[in-house]
Symmetry: C2
Subunit: 362 residues, 2 copies
């Protein structure tokens, strides 16, 4: 091919053919126009305080992001939201899969909105991933609540470390409160350590159980009954009512195994049928009585401050441990020391001292 021939190549015959869409300047302008505006922390906060749900969602996404820039922005928003937060009632709800948590939250949340409440539903589920189908992930199970203008539903932040997920949820609570939600429901599954984390971020902890035989009492996660301020026996309808009443007696007996709570509140057992919307009002009555009692005896505020202190100390401890155990040299030395302990050649205390001295010298 000669230079002369070049100009007659078909490849240069573009007359009448428009640029492909993606390089079309007009189209790019159109896409940019449609794209979400990157609001500043200040602007996002202002929108959240006005109750803008889109702004709230975006801020929670920033909280959940792994991107340090996003997290910095999220921190600035939370800082600004703080003075508008903390005025809500925070309710933890747990129960094993199959107990009807989604149906219950849908019924309970909808009922609360009829009382004029604004309800935000969050979840703590460290094991959840998009593919595994996290709790609340399938919003179709809460259709009525999803479409309710006074409700906001957000699935669990993903992540395998409970500490991280719990922190994100704590921060999401602040954002929801700043957006005007006065009732925050935190859902968690009835397995693992997540109940303890949820218990330490709510004012009231509700355990959902099923009516059933004595078998039902087995398999209760250690310590969960102890954390409960109330146990609601769900699906107490139709042929189930008799069993539910029996279960109520059993659970009342179980609750008596524990000493008086610091709140001064005596945990209650109640029956409900989320499906038939029965007994839901009773649970709210209970909860209101709890809030009134603990606000008047000072426990409510005291408890929140204790929770704050717990999270502060917890975060420091976690970070100190991470700093320590993330040293490559410490990792190697820890494995060696554990082997020596197992071989009965050193004590756990001497091994710990060795590792602490090693880290100090690093």
């Amino acid at each position: 091919m000669t230079k002369k021939n070049k100009h007659i190549s078909a490849l240069n015959e573009q007359g009448g053919v428009p640029d492909p869409e993606i390089t079309n300047a007009a189209h790019i302008a159109f896409i940019k126009q449609k794209r979400k505006k990157q609001l500043s922390a200040k602007a996002l906060t202002a929108a959240i305080i006005k109750g803008d749900i889109t702004a709230l969602s975006r801020a929670i996404t920033l909280v959940e992001s792994q991107n340090p820039e996003h997290y910095k922005k999220a921190s600035a928003i939370i800082q600004r939201c703080l003075e508008h937060a903390n005025a809500s009632t925070r309710i933890g709800i747990t129960g094993v899969p199959g107990v009807g948590k989604s149906t219950f939250i849908e019924a309970f949340g909808s009922y609360l909105t009829t009382l004029g409440k604004k309800v935000a539903v969050l979840a703590v589920d460290p094991s959840s991933t998009v593919t595994k189908g996290s709790i609340l992930g399938d919003k179709t199970r809460m259709e009525a609540l999803v479409n309710n203008p006074n409700a906001f539903i957000r699935p669990s932040a993903s992540g395998n470390a409970l500490g991280g997920v719990a922190r994100k949820t704590r921060e999401a609570i602040i954002l929801c409160e700043a957006a005007g939600f006065d009732t925050i429901i935190i859902e968690t599954v009835g397995v693992g350590q997540s109940e303890t984390a949820v218990h330490s971020m709510v004012d009231f902890f509700l355990l959902l159980k099923l009516a059933g035989a004595g078998d039902e009492l087995q398999g209760i996660k250690r310590g969960i009954i102890e954390m409960a301020d109330a146990i609601a026996i769900n699906k107490a309808d139709g042929d189930n009512i008799k069993a539910a009443k029996l279960a109520k007696v059993e659970f009342n007996r179980a609750l008596h195994l524990y000493p008086q709570k610091a709140s001064g509140w005596t945990p209650k057992v109640t029956l409900c049928s989320a499906l038939k919307h029965e007994g839901i009002d009773k649970i709210w009555e209970l909860l209101s009585a709890y809030i009134t009692q603990t606000k008047s005896n000072g426990f409510f505020e005291h408890h929140r401050q204790e929770q704050n202190k717990f999270w502060l100390m917890q975060t420091i401890e976690e970070q100190l441990n991470q700093r320590f155990f993330n040293h490559t040299k410490i990792k190697t030395a820890l494995a060696e020391q554990l082997a020596l302990v197992a071989q009965n050649k050193t004590t756990p205390f001497a091994a710990a001292e060795y590792l602490l001295a090693l880290e100090k010298a690093l």
Copy 2:
């Protein structure tokens, strides 16, 4: 008074008056001879391994000492004792005051010595001081065991920090084992966090309870039933037997509230009367069955290694926290940050980050 007069002062008339005892050279030599010899770590260890109780007591005193030199020597002894340790059965015993712990341990320990066992009894009671009368402090309550050549009783190390007391007890266990004690009983009171500490240093955990009405079930420390491998209802004699049998049913029900233990062992409830030496053999039978089962399924050794790992990690965590929170600047800043959190001006997480950054810059 003139210089001349000085020599006739009665103060100089000492002829015929011997030196006071304390400056009498012969008496000093006598005291020195009586004084305990300061054996080296090597010599003390050799004596311990031969089963010398005096040497064992001295080594435990070194472990308990606040003097760093003593502790250094103690560490050297423990290190030398390690290869002779770990072959015992470690039993934790707890129960509220009044349940008859001393009488039970006296009966149980004496029974074990009739089986040819060598029994060491230690205690964990962080709140004990000499004046307050620590558990086991009053050895007269265990007269038979105290005078038994195959038993060794040692009151709780003093100190307010559970971590320190627990560590000293763990180290005393090693020393007792090296001295040939094949059964170690660790007593603790039924209050506070000390049960958890004891639970993490024993193979088998026994809860002593009293026969009684439903009231008895109240006031059970949270989580203690859960830790128990067996519950022995003491004072099950005379008019008490019926109530004790009822209590057995109640406790069996309570035990069923908890899921299967990792050991594969189903906790048992049994009756006894320590005073009448009844049912004591049953408890040893139970315990032997537990040891056989957990040794054959591998849990016994696995559990000990998990305990070692727990103590190693626990010690590191404690020390890291101490290092951190002992900085004067951190103390001041922590108080400030907590106040800001309480005033809703910062979050626990932001406060924690601030403190961590502050410490890193120190």
